[in-house]
Symmetry: C2
């Protein structure tokens, strides 16, 4: 077992360079723990001449990344290119079909093609490992797939996107509105130049779809996910939530319901301040899993960045070097069951509904009548004073309603009754309360 | 790989019965995840006729527990008897020496004999697994030994004893004193009839010694541990900590210092309310590890009880069934380094010092002079009114001092200056502040 584990790295961005750096810096201990050296043999990236702050001179270079997967001197291909399809997928398929192990940080690819890749891995006796794809450095794929493997897991939920959590935390602490904080986060490198995947909840949804499959033993079903992002949250919503004893967090929630249906949603929610997720601030991620014997497990750590992500990638490599092999989704792909999507309308929750309304008589009566007619019981209602003065909405005010616990379908029905009302100037924002 | 993994269970107390129950209840999913059935073949316990609420009729019975380790039809021995030596140790040695895998929840045995047993396991090609020995259902052995394996870990600390955490939480919420809460906890079954191992910090120390070895790659060194329990904490200390923005928690802290020395301590500490450990209430456990690439990882879950502990035991069994093998302490035993114990006197911290003093003039001057002479800088000092009226201490008052950050040796020196003072009626209680 002293033959080195020979790896090829595709992608030399922040994470790729982080893996090279970690393997150099922790070489002795990684070798000791892995039982043999883990050696980078070959690399590939778009630009050969770019200075990445790490020494690549000892590694072979491939201009065509797919060529990494067919080299005879490579045991494991590490895919850090990103993108659900395109070159990353071609590389992954080629590597696994050739019986090479694949380690990836690519959540989009696993969410969209994880089943196919896992089947390919099984067929060719190769490992498919993706710890870095979910929640950065937190060993949550291992935690669910191995640590909690004795349990029927009924629910898994958590904060899965560091960018959104950073933005929401900043909005909380500065009182600034979404756009201002996003811009500052971009300037600091905490948000991408094109932040859509993060702020619209797609990145968190990729991760949640993967967690759900692993936790419940169900087929990955990204398409069925209900996704809302954080772009419509205003400083006023944060202030309102605070007054109610809550914080706003973008939370991914998955549940295998008692009826066998699969509920999966990524959305901003109001989290009670006493709930463990409420104290998760900044770019941190947190995952909660509830097992039928272990009870509630919580994993917290840094959800992104070169160090944490490289830590997860190299943990996968050490597993492979040790000969540890767990099926990609905990059980053979053929055993993953296809669960029908849940009908969220039956689910019960308290709801926060925020309306931007014209400042004129009768608006509250119209809204509260709709609630009554749809069977939504109001727990509290707050109408705030005029919005930012001088702004385009200076004639509008915010109305925030919190309902008693009731079916989501009733809230939808109430909003439908209000649809088209000339008093309501933009679509209402609805967030559920948890905790 | 469809041959069943055949196990023998030694010990049928809460945890043993919990394992039988879990394997029955989750049989299909455990089989699917393990890749083959996990079957109990034989059991042993002190009393054959006792009703444990689980059906044992299908299992062979051994009066002599050691006989489990020599049965030809057993692959894995699961030791749930407890005790660092005696029958548990004999069983473990016999099983491993015979090449059988050993799974144990026995923290005392691993803290005292883990090195010997790990060496025996290596020698005979058997696995030694003990996830259930530390932090109940939280997969922290896996989290550190595999999930964070790419990192040099510099510090590991946490709340490792659920009984103590329950007692401290109850003291917080009820304002009652230690003895009252302990009695109530015993009545509810949250504390043992003989609670010494828990409340004196020994149980937490066993777990910390194991975590330190795994995290740092150092030899298990339980003997070097500095251990204080929670028996001397009064309601007044909790109230004082609260006024200072802190909670009191029994925390195990281990650090491989920059000088290569190993610091290991279990003691009650004042944790800032904003610190993640402060919100860990009741019988919950929490472990923080700090890695040089991953940053800070936090694992939280239930630290005891049949369900969580059985979950950890069966996770180990699933690992064995899958063929996953990680060295017991992350690296071969021969590579574990012997680190000299740290000299705590050099460590810097803020300290809380509580004195019970006679209510007469000059006491404060005596205490503060000692602090000055020893170079302890006082940040705050509070003298509380008379203690419980009518009680034996009605002539005594409490003085609580918080120092600025400084070396522990200075605090020790100040206390030494005060030793034997007729004004001070019991040994001062010192707790460090963290967070």
């Amino acid at each position: 077992m002293t033959a080195p584990l020979r790896i090829a790295l595709a992608g030399l961005g922040t994470v790729g360079a982080g893996v090279v750096r970690l393997l150099a810096e922790n070489h002795a201990l990684v070798t000791a723990r892995a039982g043999r050296p883990i050696e980078v043999v070959a690399v590939s990236a778009r630009n050969r001449t770019k200075d990445r702050g790490v020494d690549l001179s000892a590694f072979a270079w491939e201009d065509d990344m797919t060529a990494l997967a067919t080299r005879d001197d490579v045991d494991v291909v590490v895919e850090l290119v990103g993108g659900s399809d395109g070159p990353a997928l071609t590389l992954a398929r080629t590597a696994l079909a050739g019986g090479k192990q694949l380690v990836t940080a690519n959540k989009a690819m696993i969410a969209h093609h994880g089943m196919e890749l896992a089947a390919l891995a099984e067929q060719h006796g190769a490992a498919l490992k993706y710890e870095a794809a979910v929640a950065g450095g937190i060993p949550v794929i291992k935690g669910l797939g191995e640590g909690a493997a004795a349990n029927r897991i009924d629910r898994v939920f958590g904060i899965l996107n560091g960018t959104c959590n950073y933005i929401l935390s900043q909005m909380e602490s500065t009182g600034a509105d979404f756009g201002v904080v996003l811009k500052a986060a971009q300037d600091l490198g905490y948000a991408e130049a094109d932040p859509a995947f993060d702020i619209e909840g797609v990145d968190a949804a990729h991760k949640l779809a993967i967690l759900a499959a692993l936790a419940f033993g169900t087929a990955v079903d990204f398409a069925a996910l209900d996704i809302s992002g954080i772009t419509r949250i205003r400083a006023a919503d944060i202030a309102q939530a605070d007054a109610l004893g809550h914080k706003i967090r973008l939370v991914g929630q998955a549940e295998l319901q008692a009826d066998g249906r699969l509920f999966q949603r990524v959305a901003p929610v109001l989290v009670a301040k006493s709930h463990p997720l409420a104290s998760v601030d900044g770019p941190t991620n947190a995952v909660v899993a509830e097992g039928n014997h272990v009870g509630r497990l919580l994993f917290v750590g840094r959800g992104a960045g070169d160090g944490p992500t490289a830590s997860a990638v190299v943990a996968d490599l050490i597993d492979i070097a040790r000969g540890n092999a767990t099926p990609a989704f905990g059980v053979p792909v053929g055993m993953l069951s296809a669960a029908a999507p849940a009908d969220a309308g039956h689910r019960k929750a308290r709801a926060y509904m925020r309306f931007v309304v014209a400042d004129r008589p009768g608006v509250l009566a119209e809204i509260t009548a709709a609630m009554r007619d749809a069977g939504v019981s109001i727990e509290s209602l707050i109408q705030q004073g005029r919005a930012e003065e001088g702004g385009p909405e200076s004639e509008s005010v915010l109305v925030a309603i919190v309902s008693h616990e009731g079916p989501e379908s009733a809230v939808s029905a109430a909003l439908q009754l209000l649809e088209g009302s000339p008093s309501i100037s933009e679509p209402p924002l609805v967030m559920r309360l948890i905790g």
